[in-house]
Subunit: 148 residues, 2 copies
């Protein structure tokens, strides 16, 4: 049996250790953390809105413009009118955006290798599965802490 | 094969989802996130210094006093002179501090249950093992991102 809070603590610890290294890896490619994350989210989910992108990039909806505008200007992202809702704009990665992600991949891969170096291929697969199942469980939950 | 950055992203996603819920669970017990973390760290590592506690509680050394002073005043933590270095103070959990952690355990357990709800006992054990091995790999690494 794990101690109370062990998982919360371990996840926090990993996130805190990864953050500065991830920021540095992104900066090497001239990107902020939020910009790189936005590009990778758009690769997986082309045609989402800015507010959906904000949520998935861990950025406030109000500050998403500051993240996306430079990406639009640099030609990494393009905007398109939603055919179903004329006033809604959808975002897509451009071929230049794809190349930017590929350019950064070696840095991100080496950061992940640092994290996962002790796990073999089968264990990495299991670990990714556990992380995803936790994400789904958490995202689907309408959590209220119990009254003390 | 996982996409570049999948693990970084998944860990970030879990941390971002857990954070507000963890803050809320701590607040129910009259604690800040940092204070509760400090108590749990001291339970595992009695007799560490304030700067070591800061590092392990994800708080800057300079702002640790703001976290620890209320814990000292409330009697959850006590200070003791290091027998080996007269000018160094070591921190310990008090019995009241132990009780405070126990009082908060149901809230934290239910938060972890939300995260782990889809994993059985054996899978949780494996998952904790993977998280710990990643932490050790990361903490032991002298990482430099490769030149782009």
């Amino acid at each position: 049996m794990e101690q109370s809070g062990s998982f919360v603590y371990l996840i926090k610890h990993l996130e805190m250790g990864l953050r500065p290294r991830f920021i540095e890896a992104c900066a090497q490619g001239g990107m902020t953390y939020a910009q790189y994350t936005a590009l990778t989210v758009l690769r997986h989910r082309p045609g989402i809105t800015s507010s959906e992108l904000a949520r998935r990039s861990f950025v406030r909806a109000q500050s998403m413009a500051a993240t996306v505008d430079p990406l639009l200007e640099s030609g990494f992202v393009r905007r398109e009118q939603d055919p179903a809702h004329a006033r809604r704009m959808l975002l897509f990665l451009t071929p230049q955006g794809e190349r930017k992600i590929d350019e950064l991949s070696p840095s991100i891969d080496s950061l992940e290798e640092l994290l996962l170096g002790d796990l073999d291929a089968e264990e990495r697969k299991q670990f990714a599965g556990f992380l995803r199942r936790c994400r789904h469980a958490m995202d689907g939950a309408d959590y209220r802490p119990p009254a003390p």
